[in-house]
């Protein structure tokens, strides 16, 4: 097989990789914010429960979590696994795992906002919801951008873990082609793909950071 042929095969997984990536980004960030709220709740049982979940999600391999999401319904309820479940389980596993990380990043961002901002908003009569959406949230976004960029870059590479569920994204295909052709080249092609992908992510995040640099 020619190099071009291998590249074409490997890169045919691009759509699948992008699907995992964007779905995870879109679901895990809002979910992460919700989890952060739960973690900061003054209602002790809730914050303890959320803390426990975060601990498990961050403390066990994502690869294992993907397997659990995929086979869980079968082992728990005897459900027949449909063909669409592979993708759903992948996205669920990624989103919930990343939500745990984002939650802690958002929590640190929210807690780093000076108390004076809340007090100023309070005296001016802003409601709690207004205080969060207008005053705290925008400032939090700026502060969490660097660690969020880190997570997103890690996510790009982590999408390759979907190979464990044999979901045909770039890395899964690369491994298959490598095995079939008994060459390591497809894996390097995949490596190049992830690097370029992250180069773009880095560029976009830097632009966003620049855009938020109008204040300190």
């Amino acid at each position: 097989m020619t190099l071009w042929g291998m590249a074409q095969q490997v890169l045919s997984g691009t759509g699948a990789t992008l699907l995992i990536f964007f779905s995870t980004v879109i679901f895990s960030m809002p979910l992460g914010l919700l989890v952060a709220f739960g973690r900061m709740s003054k209602f002790r049982p809730l914050s303890a429960l959320v803390k426990g979940f975060i601990s498990i999600l961050r403390g066990t391999p994502l690869m294992l979590q993907l397997i659990v999401w995929f086979y869980g319904p079968y082992y728990l309820f005897g459900t027949q696994l449909s063909s669409g479940w592979r993708l759903t389980a992948t996205i669920l596993g990624f989103s919930i795992n990343y939500a745990a990380y984002f939650a802690e990043i958002f929590r640190s961002g929210i807690q780093s906002i000076p108390l004076g901002q809340y007090e100023a908003a309070n005296v001016l009569g802003y409601s709690k919801a207004q205080t969060f959406t207008k005053i705290i949230f925008p400032q939090m976004c700026k502060r969490v951008l660097p660690p969020v960029t880190n997570e997103v870059i890690t996510l790009v590479k982590d999408t390759s873990l979907a190979f464990v569920l044999a979901y045909s994204e770039v890395f899964t295909i690369a491994k298959q082609v490598a095995a079939a052709q008994t060459t390591i080249v497809p894996l390097f092609i995949a490596g190049g793909f992830y690097y370029v992908f992250n180069f773009v992510v880095d560029f976009v995040m830097a632009k966003i950071e620049q855009k938020m640099n109008y204040y300190r």
């Binding site: 000076p114 004076g116 901002q117 100023a120 005296v123 802003y126 207008k134 925008p138 400032q139 204040y215």
Partner: protein, 254 residues
């Protein structure tokens, strides 16, 4: 008319009693200065008056409307809606300005009147520009707080408080974070507001300013009001030993 009335305010943090049975009332147009050493409870009193802290017991009344009263020895606050209304009666200028860094100067001033008081956008903007001009900040509307000096930031904070059209304005050590030159800028603005008969309560360490601008001075220590009265009397001829002691350095410099 009494704009503010605090009766028998008590506040303790854990075991430490910070305010012991403080009563204070402020008449329309009056300027009251609160002086005293650090830890005397002046800031806590201001924070209780502005609803940033809750009193353990006591009564808090604005414009004849009860924000809190004592029931069975404990402070009971009015419901959310009543407090929301009462919050419109006062404004607070902080020691550290607490401007919103992500908002331009103009938005800092306009946002609360528009999104909290639901007033007309254009009208608020027009008033805000006038207020900023009065504060000597014309041309700074589109600047961000980080681009301004401390004195300018504090003047924006004063404009932000005034834009809400409060009946009474509180200042919590408004010049403590500023150097002497910038302090002068702020005191000039407050003096101007006093001339316009703005009702104000000012916690300050600027003794000569308190003496010259206030209608009444209150000296606090250890959570008690030790001495209260005419500013020249209290600051230049204090009767109480503790007041004399506190003002000794100031008196020596005069």
């Amino acid at each position: 008319m009494k704009y503010l009335e605090i009766k028998n305010c008590k506040k303790a943090f854990d075991e430490l009693s910070v305010l012991n049975d403080i009563s204070l009332s402020v008449e329309e147009g009056e300027v009251v200065a609160i002086i005293g050493p650090s830890g005397s409870g002046k800031s806590t009193l201001l924070r209780c008056a502005t609803l940033l802290e809750t009193m353990d017991s006591g009564e808090l009344v604005y414009m004849g409307e009860k924000a809190a009263s004592t029931v069975d020895g404990q402070a009971v606050y009015a419901d959310g809606n009543a407090l929301k209304k009462i919050k419109n009666y006062f404004g607070l200028v902080f020691q550290n300005f607490n401007l919103f860094p992500h908002y331009s100067v103009l938005k800092n001033v306009c946002d609360a009147p528009i999104s909290v008081q639901k007033r007309n956008k254009e009208e608020v903007k027009e008033e805000a520009l006038k207020l900023l001009a009065k504060m000597g900040l014309s041309g700074k509307e589109n600047a961000y707080p980080c681009q301004l000096s401390g004195g300018q930031q504090q003047r924006v904070a004063i404009a932000r408080a005034l834009a809400m059209k409060p009946s009474i304005l509180f200042f919590d050590e408004p010049t403590s974070a500023l150097d002497p030159e910038l302090t002068g800028e702020i005191l000039k603005v407050i003096r101007q507001l006093a001339e316009e008969k703005m009702t104000m309560v000012i916690v300050t360490h600027e003794m000569s300013f308190a003496r010259d601008v206030a209608d009444r001075v209150i000296f606090m220590d250890g959570g008690y009001i030790i001495e209260e009265g005419d500013p020249h009397e209290v600051i230049e001829h204090p009767k109480e030993e503790r007041t004399k002691q506190f003002l000794a350095r100031f008196s020596a410099e005069q």
